[in-house]
Amino acid sequence: AQSVTQLDSQVPVFEEAPVELRCNYSSSVSVYLFWYVQYPNQGLQLLLKYLSGSTLVKGINGFEAEFNKSQTSFHLRKPSVHISDTAEYFCAVSRFVQGAQKLVFGQGTRLTINP
């Protein structure tokens, strides 16, 4: 069975500092990985996804993630955060059931940016 673990429930950082949000997955089949962001009082929107090819994936708002098969990780990074990055971030792995793509989500990491 596929599963996702986000190692930190909360990450506080100062504005303009770098940040890394950690995600580890377990899967016995081909892996498709996603990071979604949820801003306060909103639904989720896609930040980036890894399907195949280059292990370094670039997303929106300056975020990037690196797929590491040997460490079964897909950590999210940003070199310099802004107040507007305050949100909850979810890592997810995809699986197909009955022809439909289902996502299995991690527990979420709340990123708080302090001025």
């Binding site: 986000q6 429930s9 498709y32 996603f34 979604y36 009082n41 909103q42 639904g43 989720l44 929107q45 896609l46 996804k49 399907l51 979810f90 995809s94 197909f96 059931v97 009955q98 022809g99 439909a100 793509q101 289902k102 996502l103 989500f105 991690g106 527990q107 979420g108």
Partner: protein, 116 residues
């Protein structure tokens, strides 16, 4: 832009009431999903539908049912609401398989349900 709308942002219901949560998408997507979101647990799949009138149980279907009579609309039903169903409910939609690659799921803004 893809738009997924949910009928209510906030709902307050009493224990035992029948509750309907509605979700509509405007992109002709084949697959639709209902999740609940709880602190520390992330999103958990309740039900999904891969076609009109077709539905499959997700990971936590107990206490819920769904209806999909039209392609654009997917309803979540709480037959008899209980306090442990107090949660944020999120609807999502996605196109069917495109060459076998996973597509982006698009989410609605969520319905925060309080059951008293």
């Amino acid at each position: 832009d893809v738009k997924v709308t949910q009928s209510s942002r906030y709902l307050v219901k009493r224990t035992g009431e029948k509750v309907f949560l509605e979700c509509v998408q405007d992109m002709d997507h084949e697959n639709m999903f209902w999740y609940r979101q709880d602190p520390g647990l992330g999103l958990r799949l309740i039900y999904f539908s891969y076609d009109v009138k077709m539905k499959e149980k997700g990971d936590i279907p107990e206490g819920y049912s769904v209806s999909r009579e039209k392609k654009e609309r997917f309803s979540l039903i709480l037959e008899s609401a209980s306090t442990n169903q107090t949660s944020m409910y999120l609807c999502a939609s996605v196109e069917g398989l495109a060459g076998g690659w996973p597509e982006t799921q698009y989410f609605g803004p969520g319905t925060r349900l309080l059951v008293l």
